[in-house]
Symmetry: C2
Subunit: 432 residues, 2 copies
């Protein structure tokens, strides 16, 4: 492939990011008269909603990821390039990447979101995020390592800090993560770590808003909180973390506590590539687009998913940063791009909200499906069913299904492994 | 647990290494009047015979590892400590480790073996070993990354170097790895990497001895070589690698070739901990022991498995470095330790050789079971069956079984992921 010259007569659509949105754009351009180029810095698509289960050792990392090349094997007008985009140059219609410059006719920015530390370098340095697979495996290693350390330390204060787990952020990720930590405390701690008991481990969930799962119904919020409290999680609402230096955590309700485990799920910010100087950024560092996902200020640059804020008179706040929005926008954009190329009018996007769910652990979840709000065992079954079906790849589905089934009956899992990073001496394997 | 004081009245047996041997010692001391302490620098047991499948993306890393704590959950006289042993102090009967000094009454060294680069720092720096899970994942990342690079490079020589895979060492690991690379070339290369074709990729296997699988029967050796050649592997016997600087590989038959992929499976050396100054080392840096696994020069230090060379008049060469030897020695040693503690005479170890197998890929393996030597499909089925049964943990067995079944029908796998190492900024997660 010639990166700098588009195929004569066929427009080249370049998509940055192989997340839920980017994949849909590329898929829906199959067998159309365009050249599709998908870029991602990883060679795989990650099923982000299950990252917390990888972090908790309930699932293998590989089973929630899928190689991008396999998804598109056989799609003739498609090229995947493993590349990190460094800058967009809208004047020249090119991207500057670590593997060279790439020309585009139409650009789709589907770069997603990353953790938002709200400008605190101290917290960014010490708290653990969980937005991708390496970060989830990192979190898993930290949790397990601190349990090992707690067993052998003779310093009582240090021991307590090692066994105190603070999750910041009461959205779905924070709720699911603290629920899973509470289950580890109940079912695994005393069994696997003789010498530690239930009272030694503390799980705290801190959320800035007055309720958890603020995007969901009141019933879901209340019930989720109740489920967590029942499992021994200390839930603090309307509080904010002020400082964390790796040991001492200060919260604005006056709490000062020692902890070696602060997991940051308090917010995200769009991963906006450099170079779109004309594009206005809105709350959460998202790129403002119109109702056909076109980035304000550009005629051939589009943005979808978590990096985009589609703000219209009907939706002054934009759409939530969830997978279904990205997927629907991706599918819709593919069709609109074909219309635009043919000289036809683009059709405005309309989001079809299928509902929202979050799980709090074994047998417990909350779901809002249209006007239907329900909580408990049935919501939990539905949550598993929907997530299983959404996973890419038959073998991933099967492996996650069996892992869940076995974990359910064992109240335990086989994946609590501290698998270290890579041998950094071997410089052949580079980071992108 | 008091690391420095053994429990009054009960002897403490400390085992270094949670490999095949160490696990057996600890298991077979269940419900006996001793205190068992098992140390390992990882928190998991690795099923090393399947590492090459992890490296090739055929299996998930987690499915061939099992948390040590889970293996021993419920064993009352057992303690696991995640620790790296820095030195043995036989005079004081203590171990110096990264988590403190540990007292022992009896010590079992079951540290296994690591890659032997035969003193070449150049090769050690540039060639990739594959003796543990992080190394296997590292290998996987390198293979996949070099395929990605080959797609975009415009330098013909570099492209060829990226697509040339050299496996050094024709033992089971080298044969299995080169067979798997040949299958990737046949079934995956052209499908997943449009632009690359069969002839672009080369797989070479270099072995110092005149035959492959030297420890097996002549029939197995010949047939394995034939299977590999049929699949397009260039097999060179009676050759030795002289130099490899990360690009240029020199072999002593005059071959000079450019390659970015040299995988080193040419030899192992015992991982002998420091401090056993009296212990004689034999070929392959293994500790010489008598027929009850007692290390020469010490009365309460024993060594089993790959780190040990049990040399007796009947076995002047010692036993092969394979899992069954380690497991049988471990089980036997546990019983002997109890005899020794009771003041009874120890019983000499006798190895029961159940046979040897190696697979060359899809439908093809070689097996020597006693006088029975057979090759092909049935050997391959047997190989899978034996490996599956030997894996620790029900869910590992199930996941590996389904992965194999799906891979078999797809001639492909979902695990070709370049999952990067850990965020080194997060210093809380330390390397041991």
């Amino acid at each position: 492939m010639d990166l700098l010259n588009t195929t004569a007569g066929v427009p080249r659509i370049v998509i940055i990011g192989a997340g839920f949105g980017g994949i849909q754009v590329a898929k829906n351009l199959k067998n159309t008269p365009v050249e599709v180029v998908l870029l991602d810095k990883h060679n795989y698509h990650t099923f982000q909603p299950l990252l917390y289960q990888v972090a908790m050792g309930a699932l293998e990392g590989d089973s929630i990821a899928f190689p991008v090349r396999r998804i598109f094997a056989g799609q003739k007008n498609f090229t995947f390039l493993m590349a990190a985009v460094q800058k967009i140059n809208p004047e020249a219609n090119t991207l500057h990447t670590n593997i060279g410059d790439i020309k585009y006719d139409y650009l789709v920015v589907a770069t997603g979101a990353n953790t938002n530390f709200f400008g605190s370098e101290e917290i960014e340095h010490h708290a653990m995020p969980m937005k991708n697979l390496p970060e989830a495996l990192n979190l898993r290693a930290l949790i397990l390592q601190n349990l090992e350390k707690a067993l052998i330390t003779t310093d009582k204060e240090e021991r307590q800090a090692l066994l105190t787990f603070v999750v910041v952020g009461g959205g779905p990720t924070g709720v699911e993560l603290s629920g899973a930590l509470a289950e580890m405390r109940m079912h695994i701690l005393c069994k696997d770590y003789p010498g530690l008991c239930l009272d030694d481990m503390k799980v705290l969930l801190a959320e800035g808003k007055p309720e958890l799962l603020a995007a969901m119904s009141e019933g879901a919020s209340c019930k989720a909180k109740q489920f967590l409290i029942d499992r021994g999680v200390v839930v603090k609402n309307s509080v904010h973390v002020e400082h964390y230096d790796g040991l001492t955590l200060t919260i604005d309700d006056g709490t000062v506590m020692k902890t070696r485990n602060v997991f940051w799920a308090a917010g995200v910010r769009g991963e906006v590539p450099e170079g779109m100087t004309l594009a206005p950024l809105t709350r959460g560092t998202r790129v403002k687009t119109d109702d056909i996902s076109r980035v304000d200020g550009y005629h051939n640059i589009f943005a979808i998913g978590d990096v985009a804020a589609m703000i219209t008179p009907e939706l002054p706040e934009g759409l939530p940063g969830v997978a279904p929005v990205a997927m629907q926008q991706g599918k819709h954009l593919a069709k609109n791009l074909l219309r635009i190329i043919k000289g036809e009018a683009a059709v405005p996007f309309k989001y079809f909200d299928k509902g929202t769910m979050a799980t709090v652990g074994r047998n417990r979840a909350v779901a809002d499906i249209g006007r239907l709000h329900f909580q408990g065992f049935f919501a939990w079954l539905l949550w598993m069913f929907v997530h299983l079906l959404s996973l890419a790849g038959f073998s991933n589905k099967l492996i996650v299904f069996f892992s869940w089934a076995i974990n359910y009956f064992n109240k335990d899992s086989d994946n609590r492994l501290i698998v270290r990073g890579f041998d950094t001496v071997k410089m052949q394997v580079e980071d992108v």
